[in-house]
C-alpha cells in the first residue's frame, strides 16, 4: 500500500522535525510548537489562562492587564466573560449581524464582496465597552511604542472579545505595517471560547494570513464552544440555568451545582443542533448533490458560525490535539462530544459544563508531558479505531476524542476539500502562460497594428475594420473563458482562502483588466448593448473585471470603487451620450462629471494607468472632447496634458 508508506514517511519526518525544534530550544524550557512558525512558551499560556479565568472577578472592568518581564517584554490583555442570555444572543435566532466594515475592513470576501457576519452581542460589547469607553486603545498604543510583545486572552465569552480585539489590532497595526516584532506577536489565546464569526469571517482571516495568530484551547467536552450552534429558541428553557451555573462557578469554583435534568436536556439539545450543522456541512464537503439538502435548509435555520485559527483540543489525559482546518474543527466540535454508550448521558452532560472551568489544571498537566498530536494530513486519517502500528499515535489521539468511523470520514472530507481547492489553484496556475501569451499578443502585435492605423486599441476594436481586430476578438474571448472560470471557482469558494490575496494573481488580474476591459467596452458599445441592457458600468460589466478590481483595491488599501481606470471608455461613451442630449453640457451635473473625468484622466496619464493613445485625433475620447464648448476646453486640464 503505497499510501501507507507515504504516511509512515510523513509522520517520521514530522517527528524528526519536532525533535529537532525541541532540541534547538534552550534546555529545560519546553516550547509548544503550533506550526506555521508560531511557537509559544507554555508558561505564558498558563499565565494567560490564569489571567483569563481571573478576569471574571472583574466583570465590571472592560479588560485587565498584566506586564511580564522578558526579552522582549510582554503585555497580556485579558477580557472577562458575561453570563446573561443577551450577552450571547442579541435578537435573532443565532444572534449574528453584519460586521462593521469601518472597524474591520478586511472581514469580507473580496470578489464576491460579501461581508462577514459576527455575533452581535460580542461585537457590541467590544465596540462599546472596550474600544469606545476605556483606555484600551492608549494602552495598546503604549505597548506598540515600547515594542512589547502583545497577547490578548479570554476565557468563555471573554475569548470572543479577545478575538475581536486582536482583529482590530491586526487591522490597525499589521495592515499598515506599523508593528512587526516577531512572528508570534500579537497572539490571541482563548480558552473555551464560543464561536464568533461566520464562514466569511474565517475565510477572510485565512486570506490575510491572520488565522495563525489565533490559538483556541478547547476541552473535549466543554459545551461552551458548541452553544452557538443552536438557535436560542431551541435552548432557552435550560440556558438561563446553565448561565447561572456558569456565573456562580466563575466566581467560586466550588460552590455551584446544576440539576442533572437541566444539564442533560441542555446537552442533548445543543448536540442535536450541532448534529444538524455538522451533517449538513459534511454533505457539502462530501459533494452530495441531492436537492433535498437545499430545500430542508429553508425549513431548519442552521447556525452560521464557523471556527477559525488553530484549535488545540485537550483530551483529558494530557494529550493536545492540534488542527487548523476550519471545516474539520467544526466536525470535531460535534463528534468529540458524542456518547460512547447511552448510559453515559447524564455523566457526560455534567462534564460538558464542569470542563468549562477545567482549563487551568488540565493545561498544567498537559504541558508537563507536552504530548502534541497534529491531525495532518486530514485526508489520510485512519478510519478504524483498531490501530495499525504505523499510525498509532494519530489513531490513539482519534480514539481519545471518541471519533467514530463516520467522524473520521468527515475529517477526511474536510481534508479532501482543501486538497481539491489547492488542485483547482494548480490548474489555473497552469493557465497563466496562456493568459500571458494572449495578453502579449494584444499588448504588442495588436497595439502596434492599431498604431499604424492611427488608432488606439479601443477605437480600432470598436470599428472592427481589419482582420487583426477579429484576431484580437478571439483573444478577448479566450481570455474571458479563463477568467470566468476563475470567477466561478471563487463564487463557490473552491479556491484556497488565500487566493484573493496573492500578489501574482492580483498583478496579473490588474494588467488583464487594464488591457482587455477597454475591448469589452468597445464591443459593448459597438453592439449598442447599452440600449438593450443599460450603461456598461451599471448593467453590462462582467464579473471578471469587478473581481480583479476589488482584489487590487483590497491589496492597495484603496477605497472601494476607486480604481476604475479600466472603465474609462465606458465613462466616455456615457458622457458622450449625455452631452449630445438636449441640455447637454449646460447641465450642472453633466459638467461636474466631465470635470471629474478630466481630472482623473490627468492622474491616470501621469500614473501610467492610461495610455497616451487616448489623445489620438481619431479617438472616441478626443472626438467627444472636441465637441465640448470652446470656453470649457481652453481652461481644461486636458489641454495641457494632451500637448505635453
Amino acid at each position: 500500500m503505497c499510501y501507507k508508506i507515504k504516511l509512515i514517511h510523513f509522520f517520521k519526518r514530522r517527528f524528526e522535525q519536532d525533535q529537532q525544534t525541541k532540541a534547538s530550544e534552550p534546555k529545560g524550557m519546553a516550547i509548544l510548537n503550533l506550526g506555521e512558525n508560531i511557537k509559544i512558551n507554555p508558561d505564558i499560556v498558563n499565565k494567560a489562562c490564569s489571567l483569563a479565568v481571573g478576569a471574571h472577578n472583574s466583570a465590571d472592568k472592560p479588560y485587565i492587564l498584566q506586564n511580564i518581564r522578558g526579552s522582549p517584554d510582554l503585555v497580556i490583555f485579558g477580557f472577562p466573560g458575561n453570563w446573561s442570555v443577551n450577552d450571547w444572543y442579541a435578537g435573532e435566532s443565532f444572534g449574528e449581524t453584519k460586521i462593521n466594515l469601518e472597524l474591520f475592513p478586511s472581514l469580507r470576501s473580496i470578489g464576491i464582496d460579501e461581508h462577514a457576519k459576527v455575533n452581535k452581542a460580542f461585537l457590541q460589547r467590544f465596540d462599546d465597552k472596550v474600544l469606545t469607553n476605556s483606555d484600551f486603545k492608549n494602552k495598546v498604543q503604549k505597548a506598540v511604542t515600547e515594542r512589547k510583545q502583545i497577547l490578548f486572552t479570554g476565557h468563555s465569552t471573554g475569548g470572543s472579545i479577545a478575538n475581536l480585539a486582536t482583529i482590530w489590532f491586526l487591522e490597525k497595526y499589521l495592515r499598515s505595517d506599523n508593528y512587526k516584532i516577531s512572528p508570534s506577536s500579537p497572539l490571541c489565546v482563548t480558552f473555551g471560547c464560543p464561536l464568533t464569526g461566520n464562514h466569511i469571517f474565517s475565510h477572510a482571516l485565512r486570506r490575510e494570513n491572520w488565522a495563525r495568530y489565533f490559538i483556541n484551547f478547547v476541552m473535549r467536552y466543554d459545551i461552551v464552544p458548541r452553544i452557538l450552534l443552536a438557535p436560542v429558541s431551541s435552548i432557552l428553557l435550560e440556558f438561563q440555568r446553565v448561565l447561572q451555573f456558569l456565573n456562580e462557578k466563575s466566581i467560586n469554583l466550588a460552590h455551584a451545582s446544576i440539576n442533572s435534568f437541566d444539564a442533560s436536556n441542555f446537552y442533548m439539545k445543543v448536540m442535536k443542533n450541532a448534529s444538524s450543522v455538522a451533517s449538513h456541512a459534511a454533505c457539502n464537503l462530501m459533494g452530495n448533490t441531492n436537492l433535498l439538502l437545499e430545500t430542508v435548509t429553508n425549513f431548519i435555520p442552521l447556525s452560521p458560525y464557523k471556527p477559525f485559527g488553530t484549535y488545540v483540543l485537550c483530551t483529558g489525559n494530557g494529550k493536545l490535539i492540534i488542527l487548523r482546518n476550519p471545516d474539520a474543527v467544526l466536525q470535531l466540535l460535534f463528534y468529540s462530544s458524542q456518547l460512547c454508550k447511552e448510559e453515559e448521558c447524564t455523566d457526560v452532560a455534567q462534564r460538558t459544563l464542569q470542563q468549562h472551568f477545567g482549563y487551568e489544571s488540565e493545561l498544567q498537566d498537559s504541558f508537563q508531558m507536552l504530548n502534541e498530536v497534529y491531525l495532518e494530513p486530514l485526508e489520510q486519517l485512519p478510519l478504524s479505531a483498531e490501530s495499525t502500528s504505523d499510525i498509532a499515535i494519530i489513531n490513539a489521539a482519534l480514539n481519545d476524542l471518541g471519533l467514530s468511523t463516520r467522524a473520521r470520514l468527515c475529517l477526511r472530507a474536510a481534508g479532501e476539500l482543501e486538497k481539491r481547492k489547492i488542485g483547482n489553484k494548480d490548474s489555473i496556475d497552469l493557465k497563466k502562460t496562456d493568459i500571458e501569451k494572449a495578453m502579449k499578443y494584444l499588448l504588442e502585435d495588436y497595439q502596434l497594428n492599431c498604431g499604424y492605423r492611427g488608432l488606439g486599441c479601443y477605437d480600432a476594436f470598436k470599428l472592427q475594420e481589419s482582420s487583426k481586430d477579429f484576431d484580437a476578438n478571439v483573444k478577448r474571448l479566450e481570455l474571458a473563458g479563463i477568467w470566468d472560470e476563475i470567477v466561478e471557482f471563487l463564487k463557490r469558494y473552491e479556491l484556497p482562502d488565500a487566493f484573493e490575496g496573492q500578489s501574482d494573481w492580483i498583478d496579473l488580474g490588474t494588467r488583464y483588466r487594464r488591457l482587455v476591459e477597454p475591448l469589452d467596452i468597445a464591443n459593448y458599445y459597438r453592439h449598442l448593448k447599452n440600449e438593450d441592457t443599460g450603461a456598461y458600468m451599471d448593467r453590462g460589466r462582467p464579473k471578471r473585471y469587478k473581481f480583479t478590481q476589488r482584489w487590487f483595491e483590497n491589496a492597495k488599501r484603496m477605497p472601494a470603487g476607486s480604481s476604475w481606470e479600466s472603465c474609462f471608455w465606458a465613462k466616455v461613451e456615457e458622457l458622450r451620450i449625455k452631452t449630445s442630449n438636449a441640455g447637454g453640457f449646460a447641465q450642472v451635473k453633466v459638467k461636474e462629471e466631465v470635470l471629474k473625468l478630466e481630472e482623473q484622466v490627468q492622474k491616470w496619464i501621469k500614473g501610467g494607468e492610461l495610455g497616451k493613445d487616448v489623445f489620438l485625433e481619431k479617438s472616441t475620447f478626443m472626438k467627444w472632447w472636441n465637441t465640448l464648448p470652446e470656453e470649457h476646453k481652453s481652461k481644461s486640464c486636458i489641454k495641457n496634458v494632451k500637448d505635453s
Binding site: 462530501m286 452530495n288 433535498l292 447511552e342 478571439v474 466561478e488 453592439h527
Partner: protein, 622 residues
C-alpha cells in the same frame, strides 16, 4: 479522473442530517394523530415558523381501489388547471399520468370549503409549509404539494414547500417524475419507506387480488386506529405470502430492466429515505430507488412486509435519536478507502450485513446512484469549457456579418449567404454554422436525457448565450433553407423547417427572469435583428407577393392581401422600434426589394382603383 479514490458515499450522511432536524418526527407525530382523529381528512398545525398539514392515512379511494392501477392523463383530468406546469412536455414523451382514484381523492378534498379555508389560513401565517401523510395520505400529500408548487410558481411566491410521506404508494408515471425534475421540484419530496413495507411497492405489481387488498387496507386502517382492532381483520398467512411473492417478483423484473426500458407504469418521484432498525439512507435517483425497493424487500418476509407499514413511529424515533451516539461498527475490518467505508456505513444503516447476498447489489446500486447524481454538474462544467472553445466560430460569423453588411453590393449577410458562390469565405461560415448547431443540439440532447443540472435552462449564462447564438445564426439557417429549395420540398421554414433548438431557446428567453423595465427606446438600429425568424417571414411575404399577381380567385386574393398587410405592419413596427439590424434596410436586401416591389404594386393598383376600389385601403369587402 482520480475522483473515485477521494470520493465519498453520502446517502447515509444526508439521512443523518434529515433525522437531526425536527421535520421527520414532527411530521410523523401529526400523521399519527391524523390517522386516528381525522379519518378521511387532514389536520393543520403551526410549529414555530413552519406550517404543517397532515393527511390521514385512513382514506377510501372512491370506487376504484388503489390496486386498480388506473392511470389517467393529468392534463385531461385537471379541469381547474391546478397543475399547469406539469402539462408542458418534451416532444416524444408520454403525457404525465397519475393514479385516477388518488387524484379524485385529492380533487374532491381540494374543492371542499374547509380545505380551502384552512390552506388559506396556513399560507398566510407560515413561511415554509410541510405537507405530510402516512400511507394513502402521503400520496394525497404529494398531489397537494404538486398543486401548491404550481400555484406558488404562478404567483412567483417564495414560500417553500416540503412533502414528507411515510409508506405511500406510487402516484404517477415516469413523465410525472421527469416533469417534477424539470421544474426543479425534485428536492421538495421526501418519501420515507421502511425496509420491508409492501405499500410503496404495491403498484409495481399488476392487479393483486381485489379481496386481498381490501382486507389489507382494512387491517391497516383498523390498526392505525388502535393496534388491537387490527386483529379483527387479520389477513390469512397464505394471502400475505401470495402478495409478498407477487410484488417481489414484479419488482425484480422492473429493477433488472434498469434505466434503458422503463417497464413500470409507476415511477418514483423525489427522494427516498429508506429506514431500518439501524438507521437510514437517502437516495434520489429513480432507477436506484426501484432497485433498492426490490433488494430490501428481498430481505423481508410475508409477515414483515405487512407489519412494517405500521412501524414508522418506531423507525422515526430511532433515527431521530441516533445523533447522540458514536455508533459502533459491526464490520470487523473497515475498508481504507473513504468511499468503501462510506458504503459500509450505509449498508449498516440499512441493517444489511456484509455477508448477506443482497450486500453486493446494494453496494452497486449506491454506486450508480452516486454517479448519476454527480453527472449533471460535471457535464455542465465540461459544457462551459467547450462553449469557450466554440465561441471563436461564433465570432467568425459575427465578423462575416459585419463585412457583408458593409460590402458594396449592399445585400447584408442574409442575402450574401443565401446567394453565396463557392468562395472559401462562405464555405467557412457554413462550416462554423454546422459546428455551432451540433454543439447546441448536443446541449439539448443532454438536457432531454436529464444529464444536465435541472436549472440549466434558468442560468443566465446559458439563456443569454443561446439567445445571442439564435439571433446571429438562425438567419443563416433560413438562408440555407431557401437557398437549397427546401421550402419546395417540405414547405415553408416557419412551419416545417425550424430546428427544435430554436424553439427551445425561444422558451428559455421568454421564461427568464426579467429585471426592471425592458422598454428602453433604442436610439440606433439593433446589432442583431431581434426576431430571429424575420427573414423567414420575408420569404413568405415574397411568395405572397408573387402569388398575388397570378391569383384570380377573389377569396384567395383577399387572404393574400390580409397576409401581406399583416406582414407589412409587423415589419414596420420592428423597423420603427429599431429592432432590426442594419442589414435588413440595406439597398439590395430581400426585405428592401420586397418593400419596393410592394409599393410598386400598390401604386399600380391605385391606378386601377376604379376596377378594384375595395383593395386600395387594404380592406376587403367580399
Amino acid at each position: 479522473m482520480g475522483t473515485e479514490a477521494s470520493s465519498f458515499e453520502t446517502s447515509e450522511m444526508l439521512a443523518t442530517f434529515l433525522a437531526s432536524t425536527p421535520l421527520l418526527s414532527e411530521s410523523w407525530r401529526l400523521c399519527n394523530i391524523s390517522n386516528t382523529s381525522t379519518p378521511r381528512g387532514f389536520l393543520v398545525e403551526q410549529i414555530g415558523d413552519v406550517g404543517y398539514i397532515a393527511f390521514s392515512g385512513n382514506q377510501t379511494v372512491g370506487n376504484s381501489e388503489p390496486s386498480c392501477r388506473n392511470l389517467v392523463p393529468l392534463m385531461e383530468s385537471d379541469g381547474n388547471a391546478l397543475f399547469i406546469p406539469l402539462h408542458r412536455l418534451n416532444e416524444g414523451e408520454e403525457p404525465v399520468m397519475v393514479h385516477a382514484g388518488l387524484l379524485q381523492l385529492f380533487l374532491s378534498m381540494h374543492i371542499s370549503a374547509s380545505f380551502q379555508n384552512q390552506m388559506l389560513a396556513l399560507m398566510e401565517k407560515s413561511r415554509p409549509i410541510v405537507i405530510t401523510g402516512h400511507s394513502l395520505g402521503g400520496t394525497v400529500a404529494t398531489l397537494c404539494t404538486l398543486w401548491l408548487l404550481s400555484y406558488f410558481q404562478s404567483v412567483s411566491s417564495p414560500v417553500q414547500v416540503l412533502c414528507i410521506t411515510f409508506g405511500s404508494p406510487m402516484l404517477g408515471n415516469e413523465s410525472l417524475s421527469k416533469a417534477v425534475l424539470r421544474e426543479r421540484w425534485g428536492g421538495n419530496f421526501c418519501n420515507v419507506v421502511s425496509k420491508h413495507d409492501i405499500m410503496p411497492r404495491m403498484l409495481f405489481a399488476p392487479q393483486a387480488s381485489f379481496t386481498q387488498l381490501h382486507f389489507l387496507l382494512q387491517y391497516w386502517h383498523l390498526s392505525m386506529n388502535c393496534p388491537r382492532f387490527g386483529m379483527l381483520a387479520q389477513l390469512h398467512d397464505e394471502d400475505k405470502a401470495d402478495l409478498f411473492r407477487l410484488v417481489l417478483c414484479h419488482l425484480e423484473v422492473i429493477a433488472q430492466a434498469g434505466e434503458e426500458v422503463a417497464k413500470s407504469l409507476f415511477w418514483p418521484l423525489g427522494s427516498y429515505l429508506f429506514c431500518s432498525e439501524e438507521g437510514a439512507i437517502c437516495v434520489d435517483n429513480a432507477v436506484s430507488v426501484i432497485k433498492m425497493m426490490h433488494l430490501l424487500l428481498m430481505t423481508g418476509s410475508p409477515y414483515s412486509c405487512v407489519e412494517d407499514h405500521l412501524k414508522y413511529g418506531d423507525y422515526v424515533e430511532k433515527v431521530s435519536l441516533q445523533y447522540l451516539n458514536q455508533g459502533s461498527f459491526m464490520q470487523a475490518d473497515i475498508p481504507e478507502s473513504s468511499y468503501e467505508s462510506g458504503v459500509a456505513i450505509s449498508l449498516q444503516s440499512l441493517g444489511i450485513y456484509s455477508q448477506e447476498t443482497v450486500a453486493k447489489p446494494v453496494k452497486d446500486c449506491l454506486k450508480t446512484a452516486r454517479r448519476m447524481g454527480l453527472r449533471p454538474n460535471l457535464n455542465a462544467a465540461k459544457l462551459a469549457v467547450s462553449l469557450a472553445k466554440i465561441n471563436p466560430y461564433r465570432a467568425q460569423i459575427e465578423w462575416y456579418k459585419a463585412s457583408c453588411d458593409e460590402s458594396d453590393d449592399h445585400m447584408g449577410y442574409y442575402d450574401c449567404f443565401k446567394l453565396r458562390d463557392n468562395s472559401k469565405k462562405g464555405a467557412k461560415v457554413n462550416l462554423n454554422r454546422h459546428k455551432l448547431a451540433s454543439f447546441w443540439n448536443n446541449v439539448i440532447k443532454m438536457l432531454d436525457n436529464n444529464e444536465l443540472p435541472y436549472d440549466f435552462n434558468r442560468r443566465a449564462k446559458w439563456v443569454n448565450t443561446s439567445q445571442f447564438y439564435k439571433l446571429l445564426v438562425e438567419p443563416l439557417d433560413i438562408a440555407e433553407y431557401y437557398r437549397t429549395g427546401m421550402h419546395h420540398v417540405k414547405g415553408h421554414y416557419l412551419k416545417q423547417g425550424r430546428e427544435r433548438r430554436y424553439e427551445i431557446f425561444d422558451r428559455w428567453w421568454r421564461e427568464r427572469k426579467v429585471s426592471v423595465d425592458e422598454n428602453n427606446k433604442r436610439s440606433k438600429l439593433a446589432s442583431l435583428t431581434q426576431d430571429s425568424c424575420f427573414w423567414a417571414r420575408v420569404e413568405e411575404a415574397r411568395e405572397w407577393l408573387d402569388n398575388i399577381r397570378s391569383e384570380s380567385d377573389p377569396r384567395n386574393l383577399a387572404l393574400l392581401w390580409e397576409n401581406i398587410d399583416a406582414f407589412e405592419k409587423y415589419a414596420r413596427k420592428l423597423v420603427d422600434n429599431k429592432e432590426v439590424s442594419r442589414d435588413v434596410l440595406l439597398k439590395n436586401s430581400s426585405y428592401n426589394l420586397w418593400v419596393e416591389e410592394w409599393s410598386k404594386l400598390k401604386s399600380q393598383l391605385k391606378k386601377c382603383s376604379l376596377q378594384f376600389p375595395d383593395y386600395v385601403n387594404g380592406k376587403v369587402v367580399p
